[in-house]
Amino acid sequence: MSGSMYDLSVATYSQEGRIYQVEYATKAVENSETVIGVKCKDGVILAAEKQKFSRLLEDNTNKRIYNIDTQTGMALCGKLPDGRNILQRAKAESSQYQDMYAIPASANVLSDRVAQYVHAYTMYSGARPFGSATFIASYNTFDGYELYMIEPSGNKYAYHACTHGKGRAICKSEFERRSFKDLTCQEALVYIAKMLILAHEEFKEKKYEYEMTWITDNNGRKHQSVPQDLINNAVQQAEQLIEQDQMGE
């Protein structure tokens, strides 16, 4: 996919009406570590894989999933520094909205503001688009559990399951096969771990950490990290499931 002369600036369309710089930004996300968001029967889960690219790294730090407010979380996929800029903006929007309107920003409003911000960087030649896709998971009493994904183009959609990064194809096919809507969050953890492990099949020898957060009926509907022991159990069980599948073949 060569853009020849039409890919030098984000402010230039190609002859077919494509904006190559935005597509290249999306490529940056597609080549990065997998992130998953999924709505279950009783809540919503965000999960990310983190490769421990150096033994010098401290465990369970270098987060990719953050709180925007008590009931809203954001997961970053792609270039993390870009993602953190978007996160800062989302936090500011959420806090200013609450300051002005005395209610927390609902997911559709917040994701709209984030999408507009991300989109703005696709309009001017002076700045490059963000190389990061962000996932927003939230709960509020009126709209219930919500999940949105915002791509580098500024496109945003509400999903019941979404994924981006290297392992997105594997995760998408798993989403088709399994009805997460019928699983509780606790039950779903194993299958999410399984998806993340399968996502980096080719890099099995490397060490990985898994970061998962959830908002469920059982944890007071707040956005919190899944307890580490639950994650570890889920990873263990997932590895067993994968072994069984492979032996079955």
Partner: protein, 214 residues
């Protein structure tokens, strides 16, 4: 919807005289106000409408400088409209109260405005927020304001009951406002009542001959 604006035929000059009241009952709330707009001793409008529309189920009662309160209500009406459009559902009464409060607090040195925000929302039902001069917000089950309110504190304190029926609440507001109008020179005319519930808004006009205390 009726609201006072410079372009409308009910344009109000400077006034501080008024009696305004709001009471929550079991199922909604009743808003009441007198109808006198005075410029000194001259009654500029004897049939004014002091119940301002902010949103479909949110109203405000204004006291203090008419100019100050009108312009603030106009801004809040605009912000609430834009907010409700983005939200896609009815705004919270607390949101309207917060928007008013931001004005009253930021510009407290330049303004002379005290407002009662009253309405119904699907999140917390009927609510009343009193916003006095300094820009604080107090949520209350009933609230009175304006120059006429000073004469009826005793009456209201002894006659208010929680969880009144619609009829009881209407009678309470009617008599309270009537008593205030009786003793306050800056309040008078007719009494306007507004019943705000989940399903509807009902305006009522109590003509001078039916005002209970005169």
């Amino acid at each position: 919807m009726n609201y006072t604006d410079i372009l409308s035929s009910k344009f109000e000059p400077e006034t501080t005289g008024t009696t305004i009241m709001a009471v929550i009952y079991d199922g909604g709330l009743i808003i009441g106000a007198d109808s006198r707009t005075s410029s000194g001793q001259f009654v500029a409008d004897r049939c004014a409408d002091k119940i301002d529309y902010i949103h479909d189920r949110i109203f405000c009662l204004r006291s203090g400088s008419a100019a100050d309160t009108q312009i603030i209500a106009k801004h809040v009406r605009y912000y609430i409209d834009a907010h409700a459009q983005e939200l896609g559902r009815l705004p919270a009464v607390a949101t309207a109260a917060n928007l008013f409060r931001n004005f009253l607090y930021e510009y407290k040195d330049s303004l002379s405005a005290a407002i009662i925000v009253a309405g119904w929302d699907p999140y917390k039902g009927p609510q009343i927020f009193t916003l006095p001069l300094g820009g604080s917000v107090i949520e209350q089950k009933w609230s009175i304001g304006g120059s006429g309110s000073t004469f009826i504190w005793g009456f209201c304190d002894s006659n208010y009951k929680e969880n009144m029926t619609l009829q009881q609440a209407k009678a309470f507001v009617l008599h309270a406002v009537a008593h205030a109008m009786f003793r306050d020179g800056s309040s008078g005319g007719i009494i306007r009542l507004l019943n705000v519930t989940k399903d509807k808004i009902e305006r009522e006009f109590i003509d001078y001959k039916d005002v209970p205390v005169k």
